[in-house]
Amino acid sequence: MSKSSNGQPPFLKSASHQEWRQKRYAAQVERRKKYASISFRDQPELVTPENGGAVDYASQLGFPGEYPFTRGVQPTMYRGRLWTMRQFAGFGSPEDTNKRFKYLLEHGQTGLSTAFDMPCLMGYDPDHARSLGEVGREGVSVATIEDMETLFEGIHLDKITTSMTINCTATVAFAFYFAVAKRRGLSFDKIGGTIQNDMLKEFIAQKEWISPPKPSVKLVCDVIEFCASSAPKFNPVSISGYHIREAGATAVQELAFTIADGLAYVDHCLSRGMEIDSFAPQLSFFFDVHNDFFEEIAKFRAARRMWARLMRERYGAKKDASCKLRTHAQTAGVSLTAQQPINNVARVAMQALAAVLGGVQSLHTNSMDETLSLPTEDAVRVALRTQQLIAEESGVGNIVDPLGGSYYVERLTNEIEAEAMEYIKQIDALGGMLRAVEEGFPQKEISESAYQFQLDLDAGEQTIVGVNKYTEGGEQEIPTLKIDHAAERVQIEKIKAFRARRDPVRWKTSLDAVERACVENRNVVPILIDAVDAGVTLGEVSDIYRRVFGVYSDPGML
């Protein structure tokens, strides 16, 4: 190629990015005063190798399936196997949800994901006074081993992987699930799946708890320890940024606080004398995927590199598997609008595309009607089809990390990682994430972001189509799911009959064994698996936790 006198190829009119900006770009008028992402990040008009787009391939990216996994955790990514399409479902009685599970599997869903109701998530049986009006409302009611048996009736626990979204009572749900497997004669090493079991983010964002942070982290790590020794195919924790983001965090805060939560669990496990490489490969993650397309893609790439480096550099992990950040993603529930709800289909499609371009391992796409109620079967089918469209029609999964090398995406990946690492340093200085959570540090940071976003929205600096721009009078009506509230009565009757039926001696012995394990600070999981088989209920175990570990209540900070 011939060069011009200034050393540039002749077609290049501006000698540098700077010159282009001054000569060409500044000669035109911009549409807006300021361009920023939903996370308040200033967006440059153009990225070139001169303003952060340059990347050192070997040290920053590497190849897919190789450390630091920036480009993906598997070498083949979606050419080898598509992500797991996993729609979160649960409502009413276990019978109701079992029917929905089968419906989803019949329509090509490849994994299950269970939503439990609020009483389950807060540790109350259906007949407790605090459960009134909430049984089977936001998820399925599962308070006994028999409920779990019904929930998975006709579903092979050794063939279908299931994710369970439950936290302060995760130990109990885990015990139900494995006790059902045992009753079916399945050995634990055949059981694959995930339990959310991430308590730190509960105090930060989702706010479902029983006991204070410290004993809560102990229970999380009981499941990690049990799986490390006895259930190698099961992910004992899904370290979750989703709820942190939904509570109003920025992309960087979501990433930083999630990684910090993960580090806190690692620290706790190490303090028990566990080897890093014995449990780290089973740690899994869960992120939100929000509106700002490239920011989200970069967030997933940054998350992988950051976790890999921390595991190797901070903890000396030797196995590659310990350094792989495997993640589930869910499109942002908070981005859905009740106004013009059919628009949500388009929002979800773009968010899902970002998740796929970000290289996630499994994905839930929200249904268009979820700001109105739990989704109808039709709405769920469109959400699932959206994933199938991306997988089968768009072609984006045919190339591994297709955006790798994009000046903008690489710069964003670097920036997001660096900013998240700044938070990690701050949290280290506070004495780690457990202390930071006890002091309310991440909670406060998120509240500030949530409020700032609302102010920006009110001022019209952030746009939500159909809400503060392109609004219509008279809202579109779409059908919503009507839940049979009879489930509450049915579940109350069921648990009363269950208690009357169980062997009182075996039940009492088991209950006492659980309490003793808690008092003596032993791992509760193996004891719980036997106890739930003997008829101990979710509420009864939770009562023990309340007695032994204490009760946490919301400090009510604004």
Partner: protein
């Protein structure tokens, strides 16, 4: 004497979260926006019983209660709150709500005495304006 805009003191508002629901983003954002608008705002924190809310409302002598519910338990918790206010002789306290609720339920709740329900997407200044014109201040 009941006055409105010409109130001699700011409206006192209790923002409340009831039941097992943990979604507090909306409640906290609204509480801050109302405080910034010059109202006196008390936030209950999460997981309150309706008894606690009524007790706090009376003790704090509030003019209105804003109850936030995103768990689907609104048809249980709002009626419970209204009836407990009544049995404590505090039915003059205005009750409004916020959260995710189907339209038919909103109609039903308004019939029962909930003065207004704000759904996601509401401009915070609309809530401020609504309180200014709908919540009487008892001197």
């Amino acid at each position: 004497m009941t006055t409105n805009q010409a109130a001699t003191r700011p409206v006192r508002i209790l923002i409340a979260k009831a039941g097992l629901d943990g979604h507090d983003r909306g409640a906290k954002v609204i509480a801050r926006a109302l405080r910034d608008a010059g109202f006196e705002v008390i936030y209950t924190g999460l997981h309150q019983t309706t008894e606690n809310i009524v007790r706090a409302a009376i003790q704090e002598d509030v003019d209105c209660i804003g109850l936030s519910i995103l768990s689907g338990a609104h048809m249980t918790l709002f009626p419970e709150l209204l009836s407990k206010l009544k049995s404590e002789g505090a039915q003059d306290i205005t009750v409004f709500g916020g959260g995710i609720m189907p339209k038919d339920d909103i109609v039903e709740l308004k019939k029962l005495g909930v003065k207004e329900i704000f759904v996601p997407g509401t401009h915070t200044q609309d809530v401020v304006g609504w309180i200014r014109s709908n919540v009487p201040v008892e001197d």
